[in-house]
Symmetry: C2
């Protein structure tokens, strides 16, 4: 037993945490499920060394669908001890290969929020079925398109403890539905995001306030759309670019939010 492991166990004991000497292993597998007649393919992940029951996190992809980026986030969250399910909003095999395809694929969903809600609720229900889920403790996070989607999940009235939007689209055709929101809302936003301009942020705040939702907005300077996605590159002038500082800070903000909504 290394010194570091000994220390880890002492800390765990002191904190009243069940100690296991099992080696942590992240299980990750695709899961087929349906919404209506549409076959969807999500991604499930968890740590075999975790507790029998744990909070769940639903992850909703950006406009490229369930791909390598979503997979990395799912792994990160599984390592943090959550049971994680990546929703597939588009359908099995629908994986846009470039921005043009992504725009064409995502476009109809931005217009048809009823379909978005049906698809994301189907994924939510898949996560609810997991035997290692601590029932009632589910958060949903989403990136860009996925940010819009988790907000629609909340507006649909799903029993989600909290939703986190990373550089997500905040606008909705049905702002009055905010009254259905049951959980807390955290919006992580780039100050220079051209796809989410100040008037959209303002409308969102008004929507949430009118419905008395518990919301928080964190705004990061020098950040544009897609600031958590390294694949977006570093050219801010394109309107979408990675920003390491905003990525790190927004992840920490999410962790703090989870600590709050999953406590007790």
């Amino acid at each position: 037993m290394t010194f570091r492991n000994a220390a880890r166990i002492v800390v765990a004991l002191a904190a009243g945490i069940a100690v296991t000497t099992a080696r942590a292993e992240i299980v990750q597998r695709t899961v087929e499920y349906k919404q209506g007649d549409t076959v969807l393919e999500g991604l499930l992940a968890y740590d075999t060394a975790g507790p029998a029951k744990r909070p769940g996190v639903l992850v909703v992809h950006d406009w490229t669908g369930v791909g390598p980026y979503t997979k990395r986030r799912v792994e990160q969250l599984a390592k943090m001890g959550y049971v994680v399910f990546a929703a597939d909003i588009y359908g099995k095999g629908v994986r846009p290969a470039n921005p043009k395809e992504a725009a064409a694929t995502s476009g109809p969903y931005f217009k048809d929020r009823a379909l978005v809600r049906a698809r994301v609720n189907a994924a939510f229900q898949e996560l609810e079925k997991q035997p290692n889920l601590d029932k009632g403790k589910i958060a949903a996070i989403g990136y860009c398109f996925g940010g819009m989607t988790v907000l629609e999940l909340a507006r649909s009235g799903a029993p989600v403890a909290g939703v986190v939007s990373f550089h997500g689209i905040l606008g909705t055709p049905t702002p009055a539905d905010a009254r259905n929101i049951k959980g807390k809302v955290l919006v992580l936003h780039g100050a220079d995001d051209p796809y989410v301009p100040p008037e959209q942020v303002k409308a969102f705040e008004d929507e949430m306030n009118a419905a008395k939702v518990d919301w928080q907005l964190d705004v990061y300077s020098d950040a544009v759309h897609a600031f958590t996605i390294p694949e977006a590159g570093n050219d801010k002038s394109k309107g979408a670019a990675y920003n390491a500082r905003a990525d790190r800070r927004s992840w920490k903000a999410m962790e703090d939010f989870f600590a709050e909504i999953f406590s007790g």
Copy 2:
């Protein structure tokens, strides 16, 4: 040696932190200092069990001056391991007893930002003199009036690693001075703060962006002015009221910010 202490030492060793078995004790004492001919009386605090050198935090009072609220925040920060100095912007013995007096006392400072900068820099220099300060690692935090003051400290070009404004006034008569800002800026703001309306927030963002400052703005729903101050009461309609959730979240945001600016 208790089990808990043993665990603490193992953790400290594992993390490469100097271990002391001395019982933690918070030293707190008033410190007289001057700005020009004006005698000021600040408050110094630190933990005797802390490391020989540690980051410093300057705390700037709200419009009531250095009083019980400031003292509590100073103690909290000292327990976290910082060397803490509460600035006195008003002068020794100038301690407004009620809102009317506080408004009368603070008013001239809002108009005379050169005086504010001189006073807060005098306090900053007192903190810099402390033998247990890890030089170059100073943050400044402020509440309401103090939020305005720490932003002016940054605008004055003081070598501060970061400033945190809790429900602070964001406006300044000299926005071009933002170019002097050397550290990072974190603004923690109540969405319904009538003293810091949206146009003031917008002007602040524009000011910071023009000077390419590293800034972040966190906005808390249902929070008005003074949301971290229990003495403000619970009546939102007065425009100033305590909000436990925003208090807790903003303190955590400050902790995360300190972790970032004091690392390395």
